[in-house]
Symmetry: C2
Subunit: 360 residues, 2 copies
């Protein structure tokens, strides 16, 4: 039901972004890039939870020099995040990075921009132009711009950078237009969507700590993805970047855009609930944490709505007074006393996983 905006496909290492490629999940390491071992450890941990592209800050020449070792051992394609200094961009390209995040407008001298673009073109390395609301020069003069005006200024600033790259015959371009508030971000991407064919990297900047940040990111990215915009996403959260990857997948799963691991649905409980539903749902969620198959599990409080609501679930339980009805695909298969619900449910889940794995 979502019609994705047609975009030019490009590749970050072996990962396709845009066109008919699945929407790609990425994150950014928060280790010191100069610490190769720590950075590779974090990249490995992120790859384990499904991260597909990793971005690294390159604040200085030592960090740029470390990239060669990181790229060589990284299980994920590496994007170098660079500001102002074209020498860092050239060093990152020489180190073999698969993508650059760099605003050519921030590099003062035209000959420096030409050198970076020539090196990127030679290696087939895409450049992401990322305009953030907070770094707009226009906003310094006009402190009270609303979302629509800010979005227009972001798009204008971004287009100037796009035209600069295009004038150098370079079109391996990705675009991001991030703000820390949802309406501005959505307005900026929508406006840009009609103007260029390049894929979009989505994100809400500075979304905050995991609890609140996940909500803002889900609302913002949910809207953009529903509108068909977005070819790769990064959820920005203050904390462990693995959480960014988990949240990104949950957003994409909720819209049917990616599949990854099990899905648990559980009812909010009410005055009709007669079993410890929260305890049950939490225990099931923990068990599902070890499962990779995309099975759907439903933990429901009442037998009246339970099986019906969770008809599409592979396995489920609907609680009643001191007992639970275990069901498969909406059909009750047996009823057990409350104390036996959890083990019975976990057995059914494991059986459903085995069936799926053996195609049974």
């Amino acid at each position: 039901m979502i019609n994705r905006r047609p975009t030019k496909k490009l590749h970050i290492g072996g990962v396709a972004v845009g066109g008919d490629a699945p929407i790609v999940v990425q994150s950014m390491a928060n280790t010191d890039t100069r610490n190769v071992a720590a950075t590779l450890r974090q990249i490995g941990a992120l790859a384990d939870v499904g991260c597909e592209i990793i971005r690294l800050a390159v604040p200085d020449a030592v960090a740029a020099a470390a990239l060669a070792d990181i790229v060589r051992a990284s299980p994920l394609p590496v994007v170098a995040d660079i500001h102002f200094d074209h020498r860092l961009a050239l060093a990152a390209l020489a180190a073999g990075v698969h993508g650059l995040r760099l605003n050519p407008g921030n590099i003062r001298k035209p000959e420096h921009v030409r050198a970076v673009v020539a090196a990127a073109r030679e290696r087939g390395v895409p450049i992401r132009i990322g305009v953030n609301a907070g770094s707009l020069p226009a906003r310094k003069d006009k402190p009270h711009m609303g979302p629509a005006e800010t979005a227009a200024a972001m798009v204008e600033a971004c287009l100037a950078q796009v035209r600069l790259l295009e004038s150098l015959d370079f079109d391996l371009i990705k675009i991001s237009l991030k703000a820390s508030d949802v309406p501005t971000t959505v307005a900026a991407y929508r406006r840009m969507a009609d103007l260029v064919p390049y894929p979009f990297h989505l994100g809400i900047t500075e979304a905050g700590t995991p609890g609140v940040g996940a909500i803002r990111s889900s609302a913002g990215l949910g809207i953009l993805l529903y509108l068909g915009l977005g070819d790769t996403v990064r959820v920005s959260l203050t904390g462990d970047p693995r959480e960014e990857v988990r949240v990104a997948y949950e957003i994409l799963k909720s819209l049917g855009l990616r599949e990854r691991g099990p899905t648990l649905i559980s009812c909010p409980t009410c005055g009709r609930t007669e079993i410890d539903l929260l305890g049950l749902a939490t225990a099931v969620e923990q068990h599902l944490g070890h499962i990779k198959a995309p099975i759907k599990v439903a933990v429901m409080g009442c037998v009246v709505n339970g099986p019906g609501e969770a008809r599409d679930a592979d396995v489920g339980v609907a609680g009643g007074a001191g007992k639970g009805a275990i069901f498969r695909r909406g059909q009750v298969v047996r009823t057990v006393p409350e104390a036996e619900i959890l083990p019975a449910l976990l057995r059914e889940i494991d059986a459903a996983v085995r069936e799926r794995e053996t195609g049974g």
Copy 2:
């Protein structure tokens, strides 16, 4: 930037829903309604975090009888959630509830429906028709309906109930069309939006445990609210219902639709971060938990982007090597050593709150 769908305004007790009323946040108690003290305790706790309407399950005559005492002492308008038994609806109305959630189609005899509608009309009590994907009779015959087909069947089932109430000259109607997946839910509400003038109660059913459920709800409600749909919302989470209210407000705040309490933005940290940003953000978030004023606070890792990104924040900090620049509305006001960042920031926050309270 959001144009809300024009809807007929109605009132649940003293709370307006629809028309030009703000989007209302509601929740459902998970206490046993027959336990008046426990239910009132939970209603009070929910009111404290901003809940504006409370729904209670009414599974039997004892629960219906308890409603009179609850309604009398409740700080929030009460909606009785009733299935099948028209006598429970009549008892709830007699007890003084301010709203009913009841599908007239589930009450078999036409004279029973007429009796309930007459009593609701006499008291000016609105009825919410709530069609959930899982309870569609059509799905029993067609187990493999996709989102669009399921949404169409939901709308058809709901419209039949709407026409039944309208045929009895009753139009104090609210509508909900919930599914546990986002695309079906969005499709159903969009389809219904053009067909009736009644306000919408939004929700994603069985969204799951707080972590994942908040993400699914934020994506789904984010899309609907952005499309201008929704007059009241309930986030369904398995767990403490206060969390439902907090998530609902964060979604509404992220779209600029409601204001409530402080907003914290914080950067995701990267290889440039040189202070303990997560520790700082967490401590600030905890402090903000005690503040009611809608101030905006920014906790940023680097001094280059910090003040610019957080230009609209009332108070902020941007970390550097072993120090932090404290800023007010994007202007750096002073720089302190790392150990003094937190106390300095909290002092500025408290000063900003006082200024706002005194209009200074």
